[in-house]
């Protein structure tokens, strides 16, 4: 049986902005202040804090501690989330564990970043010696390699990737928090004509670094009820894996860690792919969305292109996909991006989706992706099922 003793009792999200000139701390303040106002929780009642490490504060090993200072919080449980786009859902899971352990009672899971204003990350490790000289300086080349291999093994229809971008763009049009630049319609011709970044990866397959923040309130269900908080979402399943296939140099790079965790989250929640009401996957690139549809069993491996072509992925369709636009069309607030799709899932489950509300939706599958490792797909995969 899925446990329902700890809940997400509130969320806040700033607008995603390009080159805002503001810091991660400043965005965090905006998100927290909004969260407190909406929930009626006092700042001093918060005794747990999870902070996603930020590209804009990448050289600061005490970012989470400074964040507590900046926000005037005194947590008895502090988590620094270092699994990139998995850090938001992973932070919620860790907060749930901490609350069950009694380490804190009311936790805030906060992701704020401003890489389009200040980029201070140094990825280090093997990259300067064994990756940068080849010109593999960011995710596009890695995803170009991944797409080429996927296409070789299964066939990749650019129009399917285009449909993902177009569907999410249509959702972004209805999302006032989305980046202004992305709030205009996109056609298949626009997609197919967009320039190649790393063949066969087009610019419209990619996200763009922006600034922004999101925050979630995590507490026991009893605590929420006592406070009269009526809207809650139950995270009934969570699973993550890091460095999947990392010790096998000849592993199939199209096999992501989601193949390992998908059966776990479905089993924990007692659900099947057919029972999922909406899919809010981490979408740094369109191919990642397509590959996740396969890994979670919405279709068979290699059938992603056909599935996307044949399925209504709009907010009112058969499998609503990234109903806020996702990162591809709302903008990627740096490493705070893992909270973007989570916030949209909670918003929808609270019935606050406005003119993009998924009718009668009762659950969501939310995922995270983190880190681009050497010659594989991505290093961290996380998935959470939320229910109301």
């Amino acid at each position: 049986m899925a446990r329902t003793d700890v809940v997400i009792a509130g969320y806040a999200e700033t607008k995603v902005v390009y080159q805002s000139g503001r810091s991660a701390y400043d965005f965090a303040g905006l998100a927290l202040s909004d969260l407190l106002e909406k929930s009626g929780i006092g700042k001093d009642e918060i005794d747990g804090l999870s902070v996603t490490l930020a590209l804009s504060e990448g050289t600061n090993p005490f970012f989470a501690v400074y964040m507590a200072d900046a926000l005037g919080l005194t947590p008895t449980w502090l988590n620094a989330g270092g699994i990139g786009g998995c850090s938001a859902a992973g932070g919620v899971a860790r907060a749930m564990w901490a609350i069950r352990e009694g380490a804190c009672r009311i936790a805030v899971v906060l992701s704020a970043d401003a890489p389009s204003t200040a980029f201070r990350a140094n990825y280090g490790a093997y990259r300067p010696e064994f990756q940068d000289p080849q010109g593999v300086q960011g995710p596009p080349a890695t995803f170009g390699l991944l797409m080429s291999r996927y296409d070789h093994q299964y066939g990749l229809d650019p129009r399917a990737l285009g449909k993902i971008a177009i569907t999410q763009r249509e959702h972004a049009l209805r999302n006032p928090n989305a980046l202004d630049k992305f709030r205009k319609p996109l056609t298949m011709d626009d997609y197919l004509a967009s320039r190649s970044i790393a063949d066969p990866l087009r610019v419209l397959d990619c996200v763009m670094y922006c600034d922004g923040a999101n925050a979630f309130l995590v507490m026991s269900e009893e605590e929420a009820r006592t406070r009269g908080i009526e809207k809650v979402a139950y995270p009934t399943a969570y699973s993550e894996v890091t460095n999947h296939n990392g010790a096998d140099p000849l592993a199939d790079i199209t096999e992501s860690g989601f193949y390992r965790i998908a059966p776990k989250v479905f089993a924990k929640a007692g659900l099947t792919p057919a029972g999922i009401g909406m899919f809010q996957p981490y979408d740094d690139f369109t191919i990642a969305v397509l590959m996740q549809l396969e890994a979670f069993g919405f279709c068979g491996t290699g059938e992603g292109s056909a599935f996307v072509r044949d399925t209504d992925l709009s907010f009112s369709g058969t499998l609503p996909l990234n109903t806020g636009g996702g990162q591809i069309s709302a903008g990627q607030p740096g490493l705070g991006s893992g909270g973007l799709n989570l916030a949209e899932a909670v918003r929808q489950l609270f019935g606050e989706g406005g003119d993009r509300q998924v009718p009668g939706v009762r659950n969501a599958l939310v995922t995270g992706i983190g880190v681009i490792p050497y010659g594989r797909n991505w290093g961290c995969s996380a998935a959470m099922i939320l229910e109301v």
Partner: protein, 146 residues
């Protein structure tokens, strides 16, 4: 990012001891890390064997023969890419059972595809230090299936 800088020369030994890789490159030999307990190669280098967890690892020369496992062409400017775009990047699967990310140089574009046989080439960094790359083999079939 500006496309003005020459290809920088990275410092050795910052991640794990890597001097043999750089010494080998200067002698025209591609040196990679091998787990001596299993006889398996690993790359990039690790602080221990990823197969056994022991530190019984050493650097050994590899043949430089392999096939292309995945390939892309980078078209966006970046540090050290001055004059190198479009730049072909491949994941090369070596005969020794390990994959490297490397540039494909001096090769007819129609031959550069998944399954193509490649051999080691050298593509210097800014100070002339040789850096491993690959070129397609004249006899290699670009349409070969792996």
């Amino acid at each position: 990012m500006a496309e003005t800088e020459a290809r920088p020369v990275p410092a050795a030994n910052r991640y794990v001891p890597s001097q043999p890789f750089w010494d080998g490159a200067r002698e025209g030999r591609l040196m990679l890390q091998m787990c001596l307990d299993t006889g398996r190669f690993q790359h990039p280098p690790h602080p221990l064997s990823v197969y056994t967890g022991s530190q019984n690892v050493a650097w050994r020369q590899v043949s430089g023969l392999g096939t292309i496992y995945a390939v892309t062409v980078v078209r966006v400017p970046g540090p050290g890419l001055a004059g190198r775009l479009p730049l072909t990047v491949a994941t090369v699967e070596l005969a020794e059972g390990v994959r490297l990310i490397a540039n494909i140089i001096d090769s007819p574009p129609e031959r550069v595809g998944i399954g193509a046989a490649v051999e080691l080439a050298w593509d210097p960094l800014a100070d002339g230090t040789p850096y491993p790359a690959f070129r397609t083999l004249a006899q290699g079939a670009a349409d070969a299936q792996d």
